[in-house]
């Protein structure tokens, strides 16, 4: 039986893992390779590097980081941030990513999903969607969640899949960093609408939230970041809570 996944996300800038402090300044929290390997050892099912670098120069270092990580990491690695073209997807895969997440570029040029799936297979094409509640629906935002679009999140998710995405990484802007739990109605709406795996992101504050994203939200996987980096909980504790809730999980020793 396919297990439910716990995905650990690291924000990377200029080749270092950084963490926002009160949404303003960024603090260096360590070497991405060492942190990724540590999270694998603790039982993380997957690692995501999200490049939040502002410049192309800083972003180029991510490919080097991916290469060094892939040589030591033996669980899947997803890379996202600043991916503009199918060639960028190819470069990230060659460098060491197993999957590549595409956000703003998919909205601007949806053909990037189709072209990437044709070249590299749908299984490595992740459509990353940032959504924010707007009345009784959810609106898609781009550029790191700053710029609203006219797209409805559920319809856009279906469109991404139709165009070739093999997985949806769904982030609730409302819940991101709030630690009050994932946006379960949003997660459920998307998970019910698409036939590919959905990774819930944004809002994890405790183990119960991770379990809820999967049971109530219908997500295949839950992404966590801040609560691990801040030492609120551990990968081991989250996996144990998933197991205690009778979710199928990969057990590590």
């Amino acid at each position: 039986m396919l297990t439910r996944r716990l995905v650990v996300c690291l924000d990377v800038q200029g080749g270092r893992v950084v963490k926002g402090v009160q949404f303003e300044s960024l603090r260096d929290v360590g070497d991405p390779v060492a942190l990724a390997v540590r999270y694998e050892r603790e039982g993380a099912d997957e690692i995501v590097f999200l490049d939040i670098s502002a410049s192309a120069e800083a972003r180029a270092t991510l490919l080097d980081v991916a290469r060094r990580t892939a040589e030591r990491l033996f669980v899947p690695l997803t890379i996202g941030g600043g991916v503009r073209t199918a060639d960028d997807v190819g470069r990230a895969l060659r460098a060491g990513a197993d999957k590549v997440s595409i956000n703003s570029a998919a909205v601007a040029t949806p053909e990037i999903l189709t072209e990437s799936a044709y070249r590299y297979g749908a299984q490595c094409v992740v459509a990353s969607i940032d959504a924010k509640r707007d009345g009784d629906r959810w609106r898609v935002y781009v550029k790191g969640g700053k710029v609203p679009t006219e797209l409805d999140a559920v319809a856009w998710a279906c469109e991404c899949v139709r165009r070739g995405a093999g997985e949806i990484l769904l982030t609730s802007i409302d819940r991101d960093g709030a630690r009050t739990g994932y946006d379960l109605p949003l997660t459920r709406a998307i998970a019910d609408a698409v036939c590919v795996p959905v990774v819930a992101s944004g809002g994890a504050g405790e183990a119960r939230h991770v379990v809820d994203a999967i049971t109530e939200g219908g997500a295949d996987a839950a992404l966590v970041a801040g609560i691990l980096h801040d030492g609120v909980t551990t990968v081991r504790a989250l996996k144990a809570a998933m197991q205690a809730a009778a979710l199928p999980v990969r057990v590590t020793v």
Binding site: L2, R5, R72, F74, G121, G166, C195, D220
Partner: protein
């Protein structure tokens, strides 16, 4: 690092080979990466067909050297196909036109499941494969929308089920082994499985009945 066994990874251009090479090298010594299918089967003890990409483009990359590679595998060259690399061992795929190696009778079809592709960790059941007995497989990592349907199911040495569709996780015939999962992405147990395959080649058990 000395070469313990000559291992060649056929690089058809699509994906990340770093993890695979790093998983192999403790058991094989330095791995050769070869983009020419015909050259890939020369002077090697183990051919590895890696597993990221789409069938159509992989078949295109394979085309020029396909017959030479097919002949070498049928002649007993120990071969490990991973995910798409496993699918290339069969004749054709629903994913795209193009010729696979056709060293195992059967074809590749779309996974018949509610959620496709299957992405994540799944178990391997009814395991009879010797490498998996040497290095037991707990949940292993899959990322596939297509699966192999061998004509002769006696080649299947491990099964997996996703949403009610049961399909081969491991196939083995003679010196030819295919795995639908990614052992190089299946943490320590997956890496140990890769080493068990290599040890099988070194002992000659992966080349029995051949050459």
């Amino acid at each position: 690092m000395d070469a313990l066994l000559r291992c060649t990874v056929f690089d058809y251009g699509a994906g990340n080979l770093h993890s695979l090479v790093k998983a192999l090298e403790p058991a094989t010594g330095p791995v050769r990466i070869e983009t020419d299918a015909a050259a890939a089967v020369h002077e090697t003890d183990l051919l590895v067909l890696p597993g990221v990409g789409a069938f159509g483009l992989a078949a295109e990359c394979l085309a020029a050297g396909r017959d030479a590679m097919r002949a070498a595998i049928l002649d007993g060259l120990p071969t490990l196909g991973i995910c798409l690399g496993m699918q290339l061992l069969f004749a054709e795929s629903e994913e795209a036109p193009g010729m696979g190696l056709d060293v195992l009778p059967g074809r590749v079809t779309r996974l018949r499941a509610q959620r496709v592709p299957q992405i994540g960790w799944n178990t391997v059941d009814d395991v009879t494969d010797p490498a998996a007995r040497e290095a037991p497989l707990p949940a292993v990592y899959y990322a596939n929308g297509f699966v192999c349907r061998p004509v002769d199911v006696s080649v299947v040495t491990g099964w997996t089920t996703h949403d009610g569709d049961r399909f081969p996780a491991i196939v083995r015939r003679g010196a030819t082994v295919g795995v639908q999962f990614h052992p190089e992405k299946s943490s320590a147990a997956g890496v140990a499985f890769v080493h068990a395959i290599v040890h099988g080649v070194a002992r000659g058990t992966l080349s029995q009945g051949a050459r």
